[in-house]
């Protein structure tokens, strides 16, 4: 199974740690663009999503930042309390449902840990010479990660802690939007509702949001071997953690064309006849994942004891 090793772990704000992740062999990681997140499989098979907030020009490390969620089911607490430098985590993706569309003007609104996907976006907006501004809210200054990194952008960035200035002045912030301005917002549900209200008079596609909702837990990701059955030949093979489904299928005699072998190109797409896939690719949208009728065996695996593929 594809795993990443924790190369660095730093406290970047109260309740927020940043992780630097790399391949155990130091190889290139899959490419990504601002707005992308990876799926990390933490202890006990729990999968959580974390937005990439590092530098895409660095092909060898990912950076994510994780907020401790006291009411959660333990994923973020595990990252804070147990995960240590040198440990490994399972990973899938990157996937992107929050892509930065081309424009000459952007307004970015971040609430708390919602700064993570916006951080590479503002760097990119700067790089292409777009006109942009960021309004960044949080409970208090000490809880707001990356305010220091953002300081170099001067007055394009407004840091607005709630205990000093109250709620974010959204209406005023978006008042200057012209017809080409795209608004990006990531943060807690009340903030997203407020930005929708504040931009209700504008075309819908000019507002792009992402919510860090806790996904319903599907079957937990497994480390134990499962049985792969190839429907066309009837062959079966046991797939342990050291083997990809693609490799296992080939060992069992299947011809399976592949290319990138990192879940991005789509060449190896294979119909699933039985079993529940554990999707690790960068390609399928959430509803396509949920359908469970195909998988990319170069990276994806099985949540169930038995997986039957049309191979």
């Amino acid at each position: 199974m594809d795993r990443l090793v924790v190369q660095g772990k730093t406290q970047v704000a109260e309740g927020v740690v940043a992780l630097v992740l790399a391949r155990p062999d130091g190889g290139r990681l899959p490419d990504w663009a601002p707005g992308a997140h990876v799926d990390l499989t933490l202890a006990s098979g729990a999968t959580r999503q974390y937005s990439l907030c590092g530098d895409r020009w660095d092909a060898h490390t990912y950076r994510v930042a994780v907020l401790r969620e006291p009411d959660g089911r333990g994923g973020s607490a595990y990252v804070h309390d147990e995960l240590a430098v040198g440990d490994t985590v399972g990973f899938g993706g990157p996937r992107n449902h929050f892509a930065l569309v081309p424009s000459t003007r952007y307004l970015f609104v971040a609430g708390g840990i919602g700064i993570t996907p916006l951080l590479p976006m503002v760097h990119q907006a700067d790089l292409v010479g777009a006109d942009w501004a960021l309004l960044y809210g949080g409970r208090s200054r000490g809880t707001m990660a990356f305010a220091d990194e953002l300081a170099r952008h001067g007055d394009r960035v407004t840091v607005h802690p709630q205990d000093e200035g109250g709620l974010l002045p959204l209406a005023a912030f978006v008042a200057g939007a012209d017809e080409g301005t795209v608004v990006y917002c990531c943060g807690p549900a009340p903030l997203l509702a407020a930005i929708e209200d504040a931009t209700a008079h504008r075309p819908r596609h000019l507002l792009r949001t992402e919510r860090f909702v806790a996904a319903d837990l599907g079957a937990p990701v497994r480390d134990e071997p499962f049985v792969l059955e190839l429907a066309r030949s009837g062959a079966t093979v046991t797939v342990g953690p050291e083997l990809s489904v693609l490799e296992a299928a080939r060992r069992a005699g299947a011809t399976a064309l592949s290319s990138c072998e990192q879940g991005t190109c789509g060449t190896c797409e294979t119909p699933v006849l039985a079993g529940v896939p554990d999707h690790r690719d960068s390609i399928l949208a959430d509803h396509e994942r949920a359908a469970g009728d195909c998988l990319f065996p170069c990276v994806s695996r099985s949540c169930t004891d038995r997986l039957v593929l049309d191979l």
């Binding site: 290139r28 490419d31 663009a33 601002p34 895409r56 020009w57 092909a59 992107n96 892509a99 930065l100 569309v101 081309p102 424009s103 990119q124 790089l127 292409v128 795209v182 075309p203 596609h205 000019l206 080939r250 011809t255 399976a256 064309l257 592949s258 290319s259 990138c260 072998e261 190109c265 789509g266 060449t267 797409e269 390609i283 396509e288």
Partner: protein
């Protein structure tokens, strides 16, 4: 601190001479054997021809960007012959949005709606060539099959009107020549560039395109704000440039491979579900797109030496696909081989976004042929068509023996 660098091996070869284009294999072997990177004094550029280095250069968009052009010309110092492609000749972040839009439109799940129609079209094309023509049919595999099939299905899928489609192949031929040096092949196309470019540009307009094709889907993405309205026509243009000649010569390659390897034809007839693998094996073996360039961003170390900043580096995809360091018996067209990992479609960020279209065309045509044709043989030696980028055929005389009904 000083590091000792190996001297770069130098080879005085011309990858774009008619002699090399007729048969590039000896030069490619010499380049591979000379070293991991080779200096070509004739054009003052660096070349990689081994699988490992070609693949590494393809995926490393950070150090080998594309926005200075993927041909010999360096856009930092020379004006491109046309507005640069928003995909092929762009780097992140500009590359992101056009790529995301096309990947969705040309992805395998989006193509499912075309599968049945293209398989039926292939059956129909093959039936038209065989029915009532006797026990043996001789034809030019290029015009009758390799060109006829893509021209039948692809422009419709894009949503082009019927008139003017004959401009597609000459335009693509020139565009692929233009990645090379300004030699006689480029000069040959020059007189028609204005006319062909104007025609292509006119076909990218929203009102010219049908409302259910790839072209309309690109314009719909601009309505959703995923790309800008100014980008849409150039993204349509990418399909018209990159989507026709490539598949024509990919199909030519697989027909040539099957005609010259009766064992492979027997395998395909017995197991037509291998058509998709057969097509990719042909893309490996002939590599219809032979070469692309990059430009070094800063000094880039490769294999013990350094490519100097801002220098062009020429990646030999075709040579990598026949590198014996990576492939067993690489010169053999072999349907029992797993061609996975070949770099005939490139690799990484710019890897062919049309590869699923190409494979679907290949699978459709080969499936129809396997069903209707018992034997396929060369009727005469094929003749090559010379192009600075593509490995192409001018004519592929074939003799088909229809299967008894």
């Amino acid at each position: 601190m000083t590091t000792t660098l190996d001297a770069v091996p130098t080879l005085d070869v011309d990858p774009f001479s008619h002699e090399t284009l007729e048969d590039p294999l000896p030069m490619q072997a010499a380049l591979r054997d000379a070293g991991p990177v080779v200096y070509l004094p004739r054009y003052d550029l660096y070349a990689v021809a081994r699988y490992e280095e070609v693949r590494a250069a393809l995926v490393d968009w950070q150090r080998f960007p594309s926005s200075a052009g993927v041909g010999m010309s360096n856009f930092k110092h020379e004006t491109p012959w046309r507005p640069p492609s928003l995909l092929l000749e762009a780097d992140p972040p500009h590359h992101d949005a056009p790529r995301a839009v096309l990947s969705a439109i040309l992805g395998p799940r989006a193509l499912r709606r075309l599968t049945d129609r293209w398989f039926a079209d292939a059956e129909d094309l093959v039936a038209g060539l065989l029915d009532g023509r006797g026990d043996v049919v001789e034809l030019d595999g290029m015009t009758a099959l390799a060109e006829a099939f893509p021209l039948r299905v692809f422009p419709d899928a894009v949503g082009l009107p019927a008139e003017g489609r004959e401009h597609l192949l000459p335009y693509g031929d020139h565009a692929f020549n233009a990645f090379g040096p300004s030699n006689d092949l480029v000069a040959k196309g020059a007189p028609r560039v204005g006319e062909l470019s104007a025609w292509v540009a006119s076909q990218c307009a929203r009102e010219v395109l049908s409302d259910d094709g790839f072209g309309a889907a690109i314009w719909a993405a601009s309505d959703r704000g995923d790309i800008t309205p100014a980008q849409a026509p150039l993204i349509v243009r990418s399909l018209l440039t990159a989507g026709v000649d490539t598949t024509v010569h990919g199909l030519g390659a697989v027909l040539h491979g099957l005609a010259t390897h009766p064992d492979a034809w027997a395998t395909l007839r017995a197991r037509p579900e291998r058509a998709r693998v057969a097509f990719d094996e042909a893309v490996r073996w002939q590599s219809p797109v032979q070469t692309f360039f990059r430009t070094a961003e800063g000094e880039v170390p490769i294999g013990g030496t350094v490519v100097p900043a801002d220098h062009k580096i020429l990646m030999f995809l075709g040579a990598a696909n026949r590198d014996p360091r990576h492939w067993h018996d690489p010169d053999r067209f072999d349907l029992d081989r797993d061609p996975s990992g070949h770099v005939g479609y490139g690799m990484g960020l710019h890897q062919c976004v049309g590869q699923h279209v190409a494979r679907l065309e290949g699978a459709a045509l080969l499936t129809a042929l396997a069903r209707r044709v018992e034997r396929i043989e060369p009727a005469a030696a094929p003749t090559r068509h010379h192009n600075n980028t593509m490995r192409a055929f001018a004519a592929l005389p074939l003799r088909l023996t229809p299967a008894r009904a």
